[in-house]
């Protein structure tokens, strides 16, 4: 039964400290964490701007970002592939089938999540803070870093949501990375590969490792939040 073997396979994988496994895990983390960093750098200010400024078309943009939270990863992968292919507009960069392409695809995939959630968070906070910080001399533009900092715990949750989505997806990284062994193979594409080879215990084992990793990251983030929240209220 694949299920019974899977748990022992998972334990053996971790205990065996297989270097191939660790390089796959390392790459998965590097790609998704980098994507989250870039997506936050893009998404947080966009979310804040959408929350604080009124301009024609704002409602449509808010709806668009909310909708883009559900972008299908495989479609994002295909679009980025067409852009980065030698036959495409950005082909001369030569970054297709490298981890860089995977980071780009995942960043595009998750920045709407971060932007949409940040917008909601900051809009609610602005409601509470607006009078007071305007009184102290802050323009809406100048309020952006203040609000981003003050809502940092809620924003951390949004960022973790983005990280979760990035770590879990396979469609985008498969297409733009090519699942090349030793170069662009990550946990999700490995699981897809082993499943397609019929090696289900190994696939399930890798799946358990992946889930354990995500749970661990979330637990760490939660602990950090709890400590900081106790400090700052």
């Amino acid at each position: 039964m694949p299920e019974r073997d899977a748990l022992s396979t998972a334990v053996a994988l971790i205990a065996g400290a297989d270097p191939a496994l660790w390089s796959i895990v390392g790459l998965s983390l590097a790609v998704s964490l980098s994507a989250v960093v870039f997506a936050s750098l893009i998404g947080l200010p966009i979310g804040a701007a959408l929350a604080l400024f009124r301009f024609p078309g704002r409602g449509a943009l808010v709806t668009l970002f909310n909708g883009m939270m559900g972008l299908p990863p495989v479609v994002v992968g295909l679009v980025v592939y067409l852009l980065l292919s030698r036959a495409g507009p950005l082909g001369d960069l030569g970054i297709l089938f490298t981890p860089g392409a995977m980071v780009i695809a995942q960043t595009l995939l998750i920045f709407p999540i971060i932007a949409a959630l940040a917008r909601q968070t900051i809009e609610d906070a602005w409601h509470e803070y607006e009078e007071q910080i305007r009184s102290l001399g802050a323009t809406p533009r100048r309020s952006i870093p203040t609000l981003l900092w003050d809502t940092r715990f809620s924003l951390a949750t949004a960022v973790l949501a983005g990280l979760g989505r990035a770590s879990a997806e396979v469609g985008a990284v498969m297409i733009v990375g090519g699942n090349i062994e030793g170069l662009t193979r990550v946990m999700t594409t490995s699981i897809a590969l082993e499943t397609s080879k019929g090696d289900l215990p190994l696939a399930l084992g890798l799946g358990i490792v992946l889930i354990a990793l995500i749970v661990l990251i979330n637990a760490l983030a939660h602990a950090m939040k709890a400590v900081a929240q106790a400090r700052y209220g």
């Binding site: 590097a30 790609v31 964490l33 980098s34 960093v37 870039f38 750098l41 292919s85 030698r86 036959a87 495409g88 082909g91 001369d92 960069l93 030569g94 970054i95 297709l96 089938f97 490298t98 981890p99 860089g100 980071v103 900092w149 090519g178 699942n179 090349i180 062994e181 030793g182 170069l183 499943t195 397609s196 080879k197 019929g198 090696d199 289900l200």
Partner: protein
């Protein structure tokens, strides 16, 4: 404090993932098929090549159609697939040069142990397929424009059978690679056409066994081509030709022959220096 930390973090991330400067890393992108990679052949023959030349081979495992398309777009340096007609067209259309025949492996038809179409032990592919169609026994096809799929369709044509009539009932197209198709066949107790290599490595057989093998028609020819540098200036011509040359050299051909699963040879080198 935090803004600076963020900037440093992102700079590091960007650096660590930045593509190596154009010509400095010695590697080529090889577009090949999933069945070839999953057979384990590359794990066996690439290390000696890399040791000898210092060239790292990055294997893209795709369906034949996608592998050729990757070559057409210039996203690979070398293409290594097993669909002679498609390869010749690739060269004729100016996308590839230096096509060489490298090796062959064979297909087998696998099927449920109960053998409803009564074809087990046959050495006649076309006849077996006629029997399977007549019995309306479930058949799992890749349906994904791969070399395997193309070969399968040629056999049905030779048997004068129109599988479109059976689509949705006994003829099931999975639209996926060899492994998933075998998974489906095992789950559905269906017949399927597969390369021997994938079959030997396939671990989820359930009741499936080899039903038809040994027919000359089942032999599957592999060809290697350099993506045309005249078409795509960035193609790594020297490194790519180093691979093409090596895999058709006595050393490369011996490495191919030396690859075995369970003591059985999968691939049979057959490069002959022919002038086209």
């Amino acid at each position: 404090m935090n803004r600076r930390a963020l900037l440093i973090l992102s700079a590091l991330a960007a650096l660590s993932l930045a593509p190596p400067a154009a010509a400095q890393d010695k590697s080529i992108v090889l577009a090949s098929t999933t069945s070839t990679e999953q057979s384990g052949l590359f794990k066996h023959i690439l290390p000696p090549f890399e040791q000898k030349t210092g060239i790292k081979v990055r294997v893209l495992a795709l369906g034949t159609g996608q592998a050729l398309d990757t070559g057409r777009r210039g996203d690979a340096d070398v293409v290594f697939v097993h669909d002679r007609d498609a390869e010749l067209k690739f060269v004729a259309d100016g996308f590839g040069v230096e096509r060489r025949e490298v090796m062959y492996n064979d297909f087998v038809i696998v099927g449920p142990g109960a053998d409803p179409a009564k074809v087990k032990g046959s050495k006649d592919t076309v006849d077996a397929l006629k029997k399977i169609a007549a019995a309306k026994a479930p058949f799992a096809s890749r349906g994904d424009k791969s070399g395997t799929h193309a070969a399968e369709l040629r056999f049905w044509k030779a048997a004068d059978i129109d599988v479109a009539a059976g689509k949705g009932s006994w003829y099931r197209e999975t639209g996926s690679g060899m492994g998933p198709t075998l998974n489906t066949a095992a789950g559905m107790n269906a017949y399927s056409l597969t390369d021997r290599g994938t079959w030997l490595s396939f671990k989820n057989r359930q009741t499936l066994v080899i039903a038809v093998e040994g027919d000359r028609k089942l032999f599957n020819q592999y060809g290697v081509m350099l993506v045309n540098p005249a078409r795509h200036a960035h193609v790594k011509k020297e490194l790519g030709m180093a691979f093409v040359g090596w895999i058709t050299s006595p050393e490369g051909q011996a490495a191919i022959a030396g690859y075995k699963i369970g003591g059985e040879q999968l691939f049979f080198p057959n490069y002959k220096k022919i002038t086209h």
